[in-house]
């Protein structure tokens, strides 16, 4: 416990560094995924190509991607930008699929009504499709946020500072408390971001909870589908 009291400010600093790595990745993956998911929803050809690509990306082990990425981008291995790009790609691996599902789940009758009322494709997207897809998009974003925070710690083994540095340092110096403090701080950060997202979601979308229709035509909580994705 002594370690923790004398290093509290270091943990606090690492929490901020960790946020600076994960928050941009979470936002970027959302911003890129929504249009890509929408394209996948619009054309069946794009659907199969994009979703296969995303599934391939999802299969690539994180450490291997962290190391292979600089060979493509020309960045240095220890560059935080490298890590943010990798985390963004992983976020997209989950988010593109969820976005496509979210737009698929919007009732066709509603879209046809909107078109009949005179909405253009663009107008319909912003006013009808996006808000209706919102709850499912949010559930995907929550998964991305939690897994990004957890995944960012892996960067520590290649020398990118984050809460993961507490794991590598604690392991090398044999300080158990340091590792436990890192785990607790990582989980707390993930839950904190999740809490923020839930509340932002409630502010932006004060209507129904997320639901998608399953095979039976009965509503199923979306979280369950994302779990197996």
């Amino acid at each position: 416990m002594n370690w923790l009291w004398s290093n509290l400010d270091q943990v606090g600093e690492l929490i901020l560094v960790h946020l600076a790595l994960s928050v941009p990745a979470i936002i970027l993956s959302f911003v890129f995924s929504v249009p890509i998911g929408w394209v996948a929803h619009r054309s069946r050809w794009a659907h199969s190509v994009l979703l296969s690509l995303v599934a391939l990306l999802y299969a690539v082990p994180s450490l291997a991607l962290f190391i292979a990425l600089p060979a493509v981008t020309g960045l240095t291995l220890r560059s935080p930008v490298n890590l943010v790009i990798a985390l963004t790609l992983y976020g997209m691996a989950v988010m593109v699929r969820t976005a496509a599902d979210a737009f698929d789940a919007v009732e066709r009758d509603v879209l046809q009504s909107a078109t009949a009322m005179g909405y253009s494709t663009t107008g319909r997207f912003w006013v009808v499709e996006l808000p209706l897809a919102g709850p499912v998009l949010l559930s995907g974003l929550r998964v991305v946020a939690v897994s990004t925070v957890s995944l960012a710690t892996v960067g520590a083994v290649i020398g990118v500072q984050s809460l993961g540095s507490l794991f590598t340092d604690g392991f090398q110096r044999g300080i158990e408390v340091e590792i436990i403090a890192g785990i607790v701080a990582t989980i707390a950060l993930a839950l904190g971001l999740d809490w923020v997202l839930v509340h932002v979601g409630r502010l932006l979308m004060p209507w129904s909870r997320p639901e998608v229709k399953n095979v039976r035509g009965e509503p199923t909580p979306v979280v369950k589908r994302v779990d197996v994705a």
Partner: protein
């Protein structure tokens, strides 16, 4: 591109292909660890998930456990077990098992739960025993989702087994950490390429399996129109049973 040439030079260097710590040996270790972990974790998680999915009991707990464990940082668990248990294979294997349980549990209960309640009621009505319902109705119908759960668990195991080389002298991750230590980027990249190939090959096998395990009857009933969902309620029979059930 120079960097990729370094990696290729490393990959095709005959010295890497024989002796101790060679590429084939590391691939073997990686596959072996992943397989052992998958078997242990499946033996724990799949039956529990099946019971939850079949009975519907404990579903909330299962969702919370599998969702909550997503926030658990793999590196933290690995290093903590490494400190507790010491150098050797038991620490990474134990840590990997714990990390593999949530996706397997989620796959199993989601698979069993995805089966249409009407189908299960029908199976019960024609006189199937509970064990027959599980084995002959729920298992085959839920199989694609179940295999999907095993697929994502396996990918996670392969990825985390790479990281496990940080605490143990085993697996393809050794090349990455070795290269990191001696600042040989070619070796790190070569090791990463091997891990990526391994993961993609395994993923491909699972993708094929996932298609194969769809029961013939389900495949035949699938409408070719991907996005269309039936707008009207389907069978009248379903409603009658549904009413009786509620």
């Amino acid at each position: 591109m120079n960097l990729f040439l370094d990696a290729l030079a490393w990959l095709f260097d005959p010295a890497q292909w024989s002796g101790s710590g060679s590429i084939p040996q590391r691939i073997g270790e990686h596959v072996w660890i992943s397989l052992v972990v998958l078997l242990i974790a499946s033996a724990i998680a799949l039956p529990v998930g099946a019971i939850i999915g079949h009975s519907g009991r404990g579903r909330e707990v299962a969702i919370r456990v599998s969702g909550g464990l997503r926030a658990l940082p793999t590196l933290g668990v690995l290093t903590l077990f490494g400190l507790w248990i010491g150098i050797g294979l038991s620490a990474p294997i134990l840590a990997l098992v714990i990390l593999a349980i949530p996706p397997l549990l989620a796959g199993a209960y989601a698979g069993f739960e995805s089966v249409d309640r009407h189908t299960i009621d029908a199976a019960r009505a024609v006189g199937m025993r509970e064990s027959q319902i599980v084995g002959k109705v729920e298992l085959p119908l839920g199989m694609p989702i179940l295999v999907g759960g095993i697929r994502s668990a396996t990918l996670q195991i392969i990825a985390t087994a790479t990281l496990a080389a940080f605490i143990a002298d085993a697996g393809l991750g050794r090349f990455i950490f070795e290269g990191l230590k001696i600042r040989d980027y070619g070796e790190m990249l070569g090791g990463s390429i091997l891990v990526i190939i391994l993961a993609l090959v395994v993923d491909g096998c699972f993708a094929v399996t996932q298609r194969l395990v769809v029961p013939a009857g389900v495949r035949a009933a699938r409408s070719p129109e991907l996005r269309s969902a039936p707008a009207r309620p389907r069978a009248v029979v379903g409603h009658a049973i549904n009413e009786g059930n509620q």
